[in-house]
């Protein structure tokens, strides 16, 4: 990877982590339009699967710090996943 790419990635991931911090501590707890309408109608979610980190929380650590850890780990995981899939698709084509 070129140093130009490395610099772009470091800056981009820093911005992503700022999004996570601001999101966790300032904005995360208000409801989305869809949730509000569903609540008005009494429509209930019927999960078909139990996720390991429901609603971006760690079971037993349901606070902002847990959400922050999840956000940071999730962002890094998505970077690796996106990069991995992109590399795989690029390799398949060449």
């Amino acid at each position: 990877m070129t140093s130009k790419n490395q610099k772009t990635i470091i800056i981009g991931l820093t911005i992503a982590l700022i999004f996570v911090v601001v999101g966790v501590f300032c904005f995360s707890y208000a409801m989305e339009t869809l949730d509000v309408k569903a609540e008005e109608l009494g429509a209930e979610e019927k999960p078909v699967y139990e996720p390991p980190f429901p609603d971006y929380t760690i079971v037993g650590m349901e606070n902002e710090w847990g959400a922050l850890l999840i956000g940071i780990a999730g962002t890094l995981l998505l970077f690796v996943a996106g990069l991995g899939v992109a590399k795989l698709l690029k390799k398949k084509k060449s």
């Binding site: 991931l13 999004f19 996570v20 109608l41 019927k46 699967y49 992109a86």
Partner: protein, 229 residues
Amino acid sequence: MHIPDGFLTISVIIPTFIITILFWAISVKKIKLTEKQVPIMGLLTALFFAAMMMNYPIIGGTTAHLLGGASLGLILGPFAGCISVTIILVLQAFLFGDGGLTALGANTLNMGIIGIFIPCIIFLAINKAFKIKSTTALYTTIFISALFSDVTAAVSAGIELGLSQPVFQYGLSVAVPTMAINHSIFGVAEGMVTIVLIATLLKLRPDVLEKSPILGKLWIFQNKKETTE
């Protein structure tokens, strides 16, 4: 905008999955990434996962989050953009329960297909019709593309929910305008963010945008090609 399990009827779940699987297959087949775009795809996938975690207040005590469809589509192209949003949605559903597994087809259709392809089509159509040749025209076009990305994705979600009676008794006449109005307000923010992101890349990493199937058609890059030829 993530529809959970239990909100959609089977008559909506099946067709949305069929359309989505078709687009996944087309995207995998048609995707074209350059060496420089590979790390950028990883970066943008992570960036918009993080951005989706952040819910901004809009009206009536509700919130909305960035979709990133216009940014991903315009920078990486619609096929890579579709794959990128799919990665986000799949991991959100499986790890965090954000969006249901039965609604994965619908959520991908809304955010990863409509939210990606619509801004690309709008951008290309405007560029073809008016031959964008100034930064003002460029940023206006980006803004319009991003705004319509959010609105059409929200309308699509509204249609799916409206058709899912009796779960959503409101039906189409309420579900569609509610989603569209709230998300058009947020579409303005999406437009601004998309402009900032693309303007930053144009300044710092034009080499990444030069090979983009969408932004690579801009006059800046076409003139450069003509000069080198």
